[in-house]
Symmetry: C2
């Protein structure tokens, strides 16, 4: 029998993968369970959705990443129920017992109680989501080319992105570039250059996590690209024909959701208190109240920083949490006390199309071309795997010079939705 303690990690995102790696030399055996076979670099997922990158550029098989770490077994599967009393997780087929459990299953889209909007306004969390959105975007231009009626054609050439956070800003900016620069010469009956791109944000400004002057710069860059930015206006309805903003309507056949997230439902099975978004309120060491052997990391964890602000739901926070859980488990195994998690904010950045980005690093704030180079370098650096970095660089250089997008391939099935 293997006398090592068994650490079960649910989710191979930033939280789960960083915890797994940080336990490489610990005297434990680890099982890493994920619903997909890959770790996904989510910050660039919008580029797969907008046909700039292919899936392998931003995803790598978990078992390939971890091939040399002999104390970990990677399994493809989904956790369906957690039984904390018996320290057991039920999968889609079989069960797994654990000594320590890390739940890092993240978040999904939330439609603020309007689940019927999901069908008309898909969100972007997984590669499958990205392929679905790519299909919708490219098929909309194809439908416009086939449509003779000018009103219906305009609705196919109208795109709405809901949510003015980094993903919404990046999607809207890229959509405008595709319409203005990538496609025009290729169509004969419609003019993609006449496409309308709307970005809708309920709050007073886009990129609300950034300082105000950077938000304002992002708004100007979006306007320069041809994006119509609607701030301070909440969506009140979404259907197949478009959206409602109070009494106004925007006709659009392609609405994308980048607004709300809800935590993974697994958190609710722990009997612990949840916050408004369904996240688990964790102890300062990231363990679950009443269960020192269960931890939560990443977007599923709810924790306040020393200044009272919540730890944000971003990739660096998830990585740091994962690594911290590994430290706590090591401390426990050694009979030492667990330390509290402290989030280190290394900054915040977002890109708005070609050659423009905004960067906020402590006291450093800058935007424009320099910020864009900074964004590019940082994202390349954090991509896992040398091959990915090389090919992504080639793809980006290619797109930069030619305005072309490499991955404009859609299948046959969902032709016109």
């Amino acid at each position: 029998m293997d006398s090592r303690k068994h650490v079960l990690i649910l989710g191979g995102g930033f939280g789960g993968l960083w915890a797994t790696r940080a336990l490489a030399s610990a005297p434990v055996r680890i099982t890493l369970l994920d619903r997909t076979n890959h770790h996904l670099f989510q910050p660039l997922l919008y580029q797969v959705a907008t046909a700039g990158l292919s899936a392998p550029d931003i995803a790598a098989p978990l078992r390939h990443i971890l091939r040399a770490q002999k104390n970990v077994t990677v399994l493809l599967g989904e956790a369906q129920a957690i039984d904390p009393a018996n320290r057991r997780v039920t999968l889609d087929g079989g069960t797994l017992d654990y000594d320590y459990l890390l739940i890092a299953t993240g978040a999904a889209h939330a439609y603020f109680g309007h689940d019927d909007w999901a069908e008309h306004a898909p969100g972007l969390k997984t590669l499958d989501d990205a392929f679905g959105i790519r299909q919708r975007i490219l098929a909309a231009f194809e439908a416009a080319e086939r449509e003779d009626d000018p009103v219906r054609r305009a609705a196919w050439l109208s795109f709405v992105v809901i949510g003015g956070g980094p993903t919404g800003v990046e999607l809207a900016g890229t959509l405008a570039e595709i319409a203005r620069h990538t496609l025009p010469r290729e169509f004969r009956r419609c003019d993609p250059g006449t496409a309308q791109v709307h970005l809708v944000e309920a709050g007073p400004r886009v990129l609300s996590a950034m300082p105000e002057n950077l938000s304002e710069n992002a708004r100007r860059e979006l306007a320069r690209l041809g994006v119509t930015v609607h701030v301070g206006q909440a969506v009140t309805g979404i259907d197949a024909a478009g959206i409602a903003l109070g009494n106004a309507r925007i006709a659009s056949r392609t609405v994308l959701w980048a607004a709300g997230v809800a935590a993974s439902p697994l958190g609710a099975q722990l009997g612990a208190e949840l916050d408004r978004a369904g996240r688990v309120k964790v102890n300062p060491d990231l363990s679950v109240p009443g269960h020192p052997e269960i931890f939560v990391a990443g977007d599923l964890a709810s924790l306040a920083q020393a200044d009272g602000k919540p730890v944000p739901g971003v990739a660096p926070a998830a990585k740091q949490m994962g690594a911290h859980v590994a430290r706590v488990i090591r401390a426990r195994l050694g009979g030492n006390a667990a330390t509290n998690f402290v989030y280190r904010d290394y900054g915040n950045l977002a890109t708005i199309g070609r050659k423009a980005a905004v960067v906020h690093f402590g006291r450093l704030k800058f935007f424009g071309l320099l910020a864009w180079w900074f964004w590019l370098t940082a994202h390349l650096f954090f991509l896992i795997g040398f091959r990915n970095r090389l090919v992504v660089l080639v793809d980006w250089a290619w797109s930069y010079w030619t305005y072309q997008r490499n991955a404009r391939i859609i299948g046959g099935q969902a032709r016109r939705r």
Copy 2:
């Protein structure tokens, strides 16, 4: 009104695309209709199915390829009915009238009357097929890793390819390489190196279009890679648990179909004679008997060469047919007589895993490493678009040195089928 004759081309494969290009300077307007948005380099499709290449490596949007050819309009859509009397095609929404019609919609899989086999043994014709097969192959290894029962595990690690033509040989060889070289270090509970790969051919030898000594060489290479080749044995049953070969059974959870093709059903609407596989028996100039304004090219056309052998269903034949149809249309427009189509056989080649291939070029026959380099160069040369060639070369070099496969990414939905 546009007084130019309207040429309607159904299908953007080799036949349709080569005809379109050859009409670039003709005084016609062209509509090219395809069910997908891309031209597909089918000879490398098996590499997408086996996770070696990504979709954009072997596919490019038709409207991007043809962006500079101003006399062509590309439409995404599907022809549903042909009305030769009124020179009209009905689409999924709307109709298109034509002066000249080229039908180049190719072939799909055929299961010799066993349509129930389709569910258990998918074939490989489209990118969607390739993604489905990739998902099955990778998910089978994942299922083996989760399976504790040795008999059930062995069935997950057993792969059957039916059909010993080029596609079947390439699939089986690549599957054996993945099991032996790509995956072993990455699994903890099962050993992918113990996987069984079976290639089943009803005829007396694999690659039957090749000279006998090259078939024999291919068989030896397959055996060296660990593929069990069954020749002279027809499949008599396929279900979820495996296949039947007469009285014998092979247990397998992953069966792939590379055996039979059937022509596109559009051909049957012309009132012309069809051959046994449903192909349209065309006149020597590739027009349809009784309809000099309708042509068929590629896998849907049935035509005998001067020596009585049929023109084979391969990419070079489809390209030559497409170009010939363009010549005939130009001749008709100029009041000249149409010439007969003559197929020029430039040779035949197939690859069997790393560093091995067989080549038959007229009197030239060779195999082994030199043939493999020849195969690689030829395929790179014929790939459309410089960017594709460059990235495919990088991917191949990477795979060659590392034994890794770049595109091992599967989605969440079809996890365990």
